[in-house]
């Protein structure tokens, strides 16, 4: 068995590796760039030395004696022929060189001042902690100024500059890393503290490396290609370069080669070590493979979206998950998800064999993996996983006994977690019960579309199957659909009826008589089985049918969409909803009460009868609406957009009138008789007046349409009930689309002085500047069509460009706030227990337990009576 050591981390220290430490932690001194000998075994002292760990099965690590996967790997080191600068520490070296004396190595501030800072540092440690210390150090470093004379030894100081990336100059003359290291060595331990270094863990001279640690082979494994060839990791390639150049440098120095050659090799060594750390240094050409693609070295492994942190740690891939296109199924429950049979046979649930369920589980194994419901794998108590195949089946069946685990196919009622990206709030991931269905898409009830922000124009969603009892229990208790009904953002139901369910219930509530047989059929289809409350009459009103869904002690009253707003109790409007003892007495059912994210009906049912009931009610209401439409029939047609002749005449007159007004305005502008608005030129005034006229005419035509659309055509029903569309869109279809606006102005782009070559230059009339005169039914002229396309494209571009921008904005916001929580005492605090708010939201109300963000004390008292 593996052994784990459990220890609590009390503190972490970041520092530099000293040459001593590197040697101490290393298992090998690497001396040769060769990797393998003729037989293919790793060379001793090479970069793949087995003392640094093993990556081949069968070999044993020479340091710890363990096999592949057991041995975590061990560091090695190379002795560098000449020291090189660590690219990550260039800025540190630069400040150290600039602000210490080149002769005596002391910091370039007078002793008195330095002592004072040291004192304040000690005080900061004692009182506040590291944070304050860092602040002081930062302040000290930024306030340092270059001085010409050392205040200690009076030596003259020269100007130090960096030539990026790693060359330091003193008065335009290069200082070698050897010299730099010598200078850094002179800095005293006390002065180190002033630069924010703890000399115990980070002596300045360690920033210039004389020795390079070699990472274990386990972090740079080679892969064997199909052809049997070995392909080495990028890091190994880079290290090979370093060792090779290092060797050549050694040889040249020992042979007493000219200074120029040595310096060239030294620079090359510096380049290789730099790119080993980071291959994206701005001023250096990146080291490349023979194929030309840049090597991925240490920094690139960690950095950015594809790096270790965001790709592998924050973004782990998962098994037992599925993804496809979604489609609607209003007949499955809100907390169900329909999955295709093929998926159900791939995704599995592990079930442990006990004395009580052994026969039940054996039946799955008997069926095998090709027949549903079967099983795919058997896990023996020793952890060995076995695939169930036709040949192995009999043997496995005999072998099975309590303690075995069987991975059986998914079945109806299993727990799953369903998710749609972007997962912006907690309702983006909810727990659904599996329902295996024919077909190839994931199915969900259209009423849960809103929390996921899903539609069916090609959206895909993900499904996860929890694999342990704990995970299943957690998913069920914390994230099942009923638990997510009330939005934590506004304290009302986030789910509701949509589209047909709203139109259906709207019509149902105004249907005065439905034959009893039909009423019963509607109710049965919607999942109602208890008919004891159904009036025993031949015909039943639509309201009574709806009332069958309500509990018989439920009282409620609320405004509907059409009510004039005002005190709720005094509303006399016939559309006002009144429910007494579970009977819908009057009112219009529309999106204000049934719709998503609105209305108190669902909220009150939730409060009184619980989340399960509320969700069940919603599902039944939605089904009832859809079923009623099935019964009635509901189709939108061109004739919905028909208007009586006198209405058309009125619209024509209104349009005509505006044309005349605009013509008059234009001519008034031309003779300069138009009175300008204060602060505006006559031309600007004209433009404003034209826009005003055109807005007026659009509204006027809209009003005419609203006035004449008294007949309840399907289109009007949808607009009235709030299922889809509005009076405005109705007007656009029947009467007038109106002015197209581009960048807050009428369309004026295109040619010089005109929008299209069909118009004269300087034409300011409505038709030449993007006013679409008639509705969609009557159609548009080519010019109008073009104007509409212009604004259409503009808004398309706008959404396409805005989505990623706002997505990134939200990512930053949520990352910045991820550790903030409400504490047990009601305060809002961050991870270090600092207070953000003294009471959550200043009133301490948990919105998801409130009604629309408020707590209605009157209602609570009323319910207590």
């Amino acid at each position: 068995m593996e052994e784990y050591v459990y220890k609590k981390v009390s503190s972490i220290v970041f520092g530099l590796l000293s040459p001593k430490v590197v040697k101490k932690m290393s298992a090998v001194k690497v001396v040769t760039p060769e990797l393998y000998d003729k037989e293919g075994y790793p060379v001793d002292g090479g970069l793949m030395d087995t003392r640094m760990g093993v990556i081949d099965p069968g070999l044993r690590c020479k340091t710890c004696g363990s096999k592949i996967k057991e041995c975590v790997g061990h560091f090695g080191y190379i002795e560098l022929a000449r020291p090189v600068i660590n690219i990550n520490l260039v800025s540190l070296i630069s400040t150290l060189l600039k602000f210490t004396c080149r002769e005596c190595g002391k910091i370039l501030i007078p002793k008195v001042k330095a002592d004072k800072i040291i004192e304040s540092l000690a005080a900061a440690d004692k009182e506040v902690g590291l944070e304050k210390r860092r602040k002081i150090v930062k302040h000290v470093i930024t306030s340092l100024k270059t001085t010409n004379k050392c205040p200690h030894c009076k030596a003259r100081q020269l100007k130090i500059t960096i030539e990026k990336p790693t060359t330091f100059l003193e008065n335009e003359k290069r200082i070698t890393p050897i010299e730099i290291r010598a200078r850094l060595e002179k800095i005293s331990d006390e002065d180190c503290e002033l630069f924010g270094l703890n000399p115990k863990y980070a002596r300045p001279e360690w920033a210039v490396q004389t020795i390079l640690p070699i990472p274990p082979v386990t972090i740079r494994p080679s892969i064997t290609l199909e052809s049997g060839e070995r392909s080495e990791d990028d890091l190994t390639h880079k290290l090979g370069d370093i060792v090779r150049i290092n060797q050549r440098l050694f040889e040249n120095i020992n042979a007493g080669a000219p200074e120029i050659i040595i310096e060239d090799l030294w620079d090359l060594l510096q380049y290789h070590v730099t790119t080993f750390y980071n291959n994206e240094v701005a001023q250096l050409p990146p080291a490349r493979h023979r194929s030309g693609q840049p090597l991925k070295t240490l920094a690139e492994r960690i950095k950015s979206k594809e790096g270790r942190i965001r790709y592998n740690l924050a973004g782990k891939r998962t098994n037992f998950s599925a993804r496809t296109v979604i489609s609607p199924d209003p007949m499955i429950g809100l907390n169900e998800v329909g999955i295709p049979l093929i998926m159900a046979m791939k995704l599995t649930v592990p079930e442990r064999v006990t004395a009580w369920n052994i026969n039940y589980l054996k039946a799955f194994v008997q069926k095998g993996s090709d027949k549903y419901p079967g099983a795919n794998y058997v896990i023996r108590p020793d952890g060995k996983k076995k695939k169930i195949t036709e040949e192995m089946k009999e043997q496995i069946l005999e072998e099975i006994q309590p303690g075995y685990i069987i991975e059986r196919h998914l079945m109806d009622g299993d727990i799953s977690v369903f998710n749609r990206q972007p997962s912006l709030h907690r309702m983006s991931m909810m727990c659904h019960k599996i329902k295996v269905l024919p077909g190839r898409t994931l199915r969900l009830n259209p009423s849960v579309c809103h929390p996921y922000n899903a539609d069916f124009d090609g959206d895909e969603m993900n499904l996860h199957i929890p694999q342990t009892e704990e995970a299943r229990a957690e998913a069920e208790i914390l994230m099942e659909v009923p638990t997510q009904l009330i939005s934590p953002a506004f304290g009302l139901s986030i789910m509701g009826c949509i589209q047909d369910s709203i139109s259906g219930n709207f019509l149902l509530a105004r249907d005065p008589e439905i034959k009893k047989e039909i009423a019963v059929k509607l109710l049965v289809d919607s999942g109602i089985t208890d008919f004891s409350r159904l009036p025993s009459k031949k015909t039943i009103s639509g309201r009574d049918v709806f009332s069958m869904l309500l509990p018989d002690d439920f009282n409620f009253s609320a405004h509907s969409k059409l009510c004039k707003k005002g005190p709720e109790a005094e509303c006399k409007d016939a559309n006002h909803i009144v429910i007494k003892d579970g009977k819908l007495l009057q009112g219009t059912l529309d999106s204000a009460n049934l719709g998503k994210g609105a209305g108190l009906l669902l909220r009150n049912l939730h409060q009184k009868y619980g989340q399960e009931f509320a969700v069940d009610f919603l599902a039944k209401v939605a089904k009832l609406g859809v079923n009623y439409l099935f019964h009635k029939g509901f189709t939108v047609g061109i004739s919905d957009m028909d208007l009586p002749d006198d209405a058309n005449q009125k619209i024509e007159n209104a349009l005509e009138e505006s044309t005349i007004t605009i013509r008059e305005l234009i001519s008034a502008c031309a003779d300069r008789t138009l009175e300008a608005f204060p602060g505006k030129t006559i031309e600007e005034t004209l433009e404003l007046k034209i826009i005003e006229t055109l807005n007026n005419v659009r509204n006027k035509t809209g009003n005419i349409v609203a006035e004449y659309s008294t007949k309840l055509t399907p289109t009007v029903i949808m607009a009235r009930s709030g299922a889809r569309g509005s009076v405005l869109t109705l007007g656009q279809m029947t009467a007038c689309i109106g002015q197209q606006v581009l960048r807050g102005k009428r369309i004026d782009k295109g040619y010089k002085g005109r929008t299209l070559s069909a118009f004269r230059a300087g034409d300011l009339t409505e038709s030449a500047r993007g006013f679409v005169k008639y509705g969609y039914k009557r159609g548009t002229t080519p010019a109008e069509y073009f104007f509409a396309a212009m604004t259409g494209r503009d808004s398309l571009m706008d959404t396409a460009l805005r989505t990623p921008k706002s997505g990134y904005l939200y990512r930053r916001l949520s990352n910045a706030m991820q550790d903030i929580k409400v504490d047990y005492d009601g305060t809002v605090r961050d991870a270090s227990n600092k207070i953000i708010q003294f009471s959550y939201g200043e009133d301490g109300v948990d919105v998801s337990r409130s009604v629309g963000g408020k707590i209605d004390v009157k209602r609570i008292i009323q319910n207590l009576k």
Partner: protein, 78 residues
């Protein structure tokens, strides 16, 4: 050299807590002064209070959700 208090509807009222009130506050929320939000001692809103580092300022804000809410900040220097 207490300056004159700024009076404007959108500047919430700032008052300095006495030592006793301070201790009560710390006890109520189980706080140390480090865990309080901060306010700069040269902040114009508390210029009239003559507050020094270590003092606690009470701010009575108008709130859309709660009518009036109390907020506390510790005075810091730079």
């Amino acid at each position: 050299m207490a300056e004159k208090e700024q009076k404007h509807t959108i500047i919430p009222k700032h008052t300095k807590l006495s030592e006793k009130e301070k201790q009560e506050l710390f006890k109520k929320y189980d706080l140390t002064i480090k865990e309080l939000p901060k306010i700069l001692d040269i902040d114009p809103a508390i210029a009239h209070l003559d507050a020094k580092e270590g003092d606690v300022v009470k701010i009575a804000r108008k709130s859309l959700t709660a009518g009036e809410s109390m907020y506390y900040r510790s005075v810091t220097h730079g």
